[in-house]
Subunit: 448 residues, 2 copies
């Protein structure tokens, strides 16, 4: 019997997911409907697969069509923006269809748990990279440690979407956008909270990018990590209620955070104020508008900024700011904008991924545990380089775990109903094995 | 013929307004209905005025009663929280009743302008202290300068709700709450924008309390002012579209801002994160949770904080923080709160106005204008000390201008309809004169 799959949203980040679904459709007896706002780009991809795949145009405001498509599917896979997922999930519960996404469980999704369970529906969330592969790989390591009798005292986990070395060249930030630029600009705009040696720890936004931790991934060099907003919420799903130290963070190449810290301190990441600026205001004028009126006339802008921020004029941080064009006479190009909007506009050009660039996904878990009277340290690391501009590391690590989870669902190998995330071995073991064997996406472990 | 006045909300801040309305009700032929959520406290006040005043219980969620009361009034005066004013204003427009408030014109109120005009209704907003008396006094000064042929090149205007000297004793902040504590804790949490010598100027929140200006009010000593969020929006209503320098700010006693800046930098004014803290966490533990782990063990908390913030351990700033009890073993007393909520809780006790305390309202406008080839400087200052704990400076300066505006409206001396603020001489001249002659609330001017 054919299983009907409905994929909602097939933009660039869904490329590897789509490839995976098409690869397995004939043998798994799937019929795949791909619903996308502009399905024209899918024609060449689907041409060779017309027996078991078709594309349909779908605008997310067409709720009637959504309802109809969900009703006609067995499993719905959504790559739509996360705010649309409650709408999709409610339709799935109404029609008794399973749902799989790579988005966080929101309070609205969580509220559907009982209804979904009663309807015999699985709402499988957080099944991409981060969230997704982070849960799977962390839980496998945690279970291995527990099986040996170890007691985990510290868990730190970092992830970042970065660049393969060649794409980092001629870019002192060693960073380009491989994900939503707005999210990168607004990252961390709240107090970060985590646990250290049993004590709650807080880092306000203004200090976040100044308090980083260095780490190394074998074969890929050095990185620095800054703390994510809420590390505490991971204790319950991971079964680590009493762990003394837990921290989750985001990875960048060394130096990025100190320079970003300068942008934060200057005020350029604020998204709460309309600056009433003209479109013709230059970047140099914008930066100057943030500086106190100089006591000594005649100092140039970079020198004034360096003095204001307590940086050396020739420092790497100042070099990165200059590379962005902050001291240039180029217009900001957008009237009556927030500083964050102007910065995003500038960065979208400076940090644009080029067709020949390869991205790099890095994830590292660092555990400390007590076993046999001694403290053990286990590091589990993953690095995934993108194949090309279509099958990026991001597309692969988000899409493949999601596709593999759908395969388990379609085979009836997942009995749990209601709202789930992939923290159970029945789901993560086959997925982690398939990622390693079929795609070479494997974590390397070091223990000492 | 009797004019029916409806006063919505008669809490403590309405004391002077109510006294003013009762004083003039017999001679002006008003009948006053005071609608309040708990009108019991009004009985002794209204007892001697029962011929022309009554109190009725009114809960703001009783929209039917609101509708009925508005219909039965000629003029509605609202001291309700500002978010309720669109509801009240729409009822006024429906029934053809005038409205007077001390709250800002919100976008929702502004949208009622055409309907109000068509209905022959005046929605008089911003008629208290700030906004209110600031508009009136600034516009009078601006018109005087213009009448002399002066061209205004700079306008800075500051206001603050502070303490009379005796109430400042034994309090290094020289500040207590005379207004909404939450607003004080969250003050300035956005980028401030103003104009200086024709250039846009921005101050991010993290620098706001470090970039203050000193000023003096004759007879009342020194103050420091920090910039308000949006000074640019005052250009249009004041007819100062092309002014090179305009700044509005808030006044504190010298030293307050530097110490508040330390709280901001530490992260204690953030209202965007739930700290997941237990109720029993102590203030010392909370502060320690924000500090990096010390490189040297054994340093005490105040020394660690001073080092972190770059302050001298014996500095005035550290003295103010210590006076608040930030290094004490006292519990924060509120589980799972934001830092701002915890700080407000602490300050509400430390900065509580005592029954014998007198408050002090200070306002100062600083003008520069070109006249006869030279630059003139005009300073216009106001200081109002509260009579007692009921008729505070705040209650007087908010309530009296509002009451006087209502008196003009009731007499038919205001012909303008639609949404208005008191920037016209027909309104501000009689009010400023009455404030000076009847209450001694007068601005003193100095020109050089």
């Amino acid at each position: 019997m054919t299983t009907r799959l409905l994929l909602l949203g097939a933009g660039r980040s869904a490329s590897s997911l789509l490839q995976y679904l098409l690869r397995h459709a004939p043998t798994e007896k799937w019929f795949l409907t791909v619903a996308d706002v502009s399905p024209a780009h899918l024609a060449p991809v689907l041409a060779a697969h017309s027996e078991y795949a078709r594309a349909v145009p779908f605008s997310t405001d067409d709720e009637a069509l959504l309802e109809e498509m969900v009703e006609q599917a067995d499993i719905v896979i959504s790559m739509l923006p996360a705010p649309l997922h409650p709408l999709v999930a409610r339709a799935c519960v109404r029609h008794g269809r399973h749902l799989a996404t790579a988005s966080y469980v929101s309070p609205e999704i969580r509220a559907l748990h009982d209804d979904a369970t009663a309807a015999g529906v699985t709402l499988l969330m957080e099944c991409g990279l981060d969230p997704g592969l982070d849960h799977m790989s962390a839980m496998r390591a945690i279970e291995h440690i527990r099986a040996r009798g170890g007691v985990i005292t510290s868990f730190k986990s970092y992830c970042g979407g970065l660049l393969a070395p060649a794409a980092e060249e001629n870019n002192p930030w060693k960073y380009k956008f491989t994900w939503n630029p707005r999210n990168v600009v607004l990252a961390g705009q709240s107090t970060a909270k985590y646990l250290e040696n049993g004590h709650l720890r807080f880092i306000p936004y203004q200090q976040l990018f100044a308090r980083t931790e260095r780490l190394a991934v074998p074969g890929y060099g050095e990185f620095e990590g800054y703390a994510n907003r809420d590390s505490l919420s991971y204790r319950a799903p991971y079964g680590l209620a009493h762990i003394p130290t837990i921290l989750r963070g985001t990875l960048r190449r060394p130096g990025y955070c100190a320079a970003w810290h300068a942008l934060v301190r200057l005020g350029l990441t604020d998204d709460s104020v309309n600056l009433d600026n003209p479109e013709t205001m230059t970047w140099a004028e914008l930066v100057a508008a943030y500086l106190p009126v100089p006591p000594l006339p005649g100092l140039d802008l970079p020198t004034r900024l360096a003095t204001y921020l307590g940086l050396e004029p020739e420092s790497e941080e100042m070099g990165r700011l200059n590379w962005l064009g902050l001291f240039s006479n180029r217009p900001v190009g957008h009237a009556r904008a927030t500083p964050a909007q102007l910065l995003e506009r500038l960065l979208s050009e400076k940090w644009q991924l080029q067709p020949h660039d390869h991205d790099l996904i890095v994830m590292q878990h660092l555990f400390e545990f007590e076993l046999g009277g001694t403290t053990h340290r286990l590091t589990s690391s993953l690095a995934v380089v993108g194949d090309d501009a279509t099958h990026t590391g991001m597309a692969k690590t988000v899409g493949l775990p999601l596709g593999m989870a759908v395969r388990r669902l379609a085979r009836g190998e997942m009995g749990q109903r209601g709202v789930l995330i992939p923290v159970g071995a029945d789901l993560y073991e086959p997925i982690l094995n398939e990622l390693a064997v079929e795609y070479g996406i494997r974590f390397t472990e070091e223990e000492r």
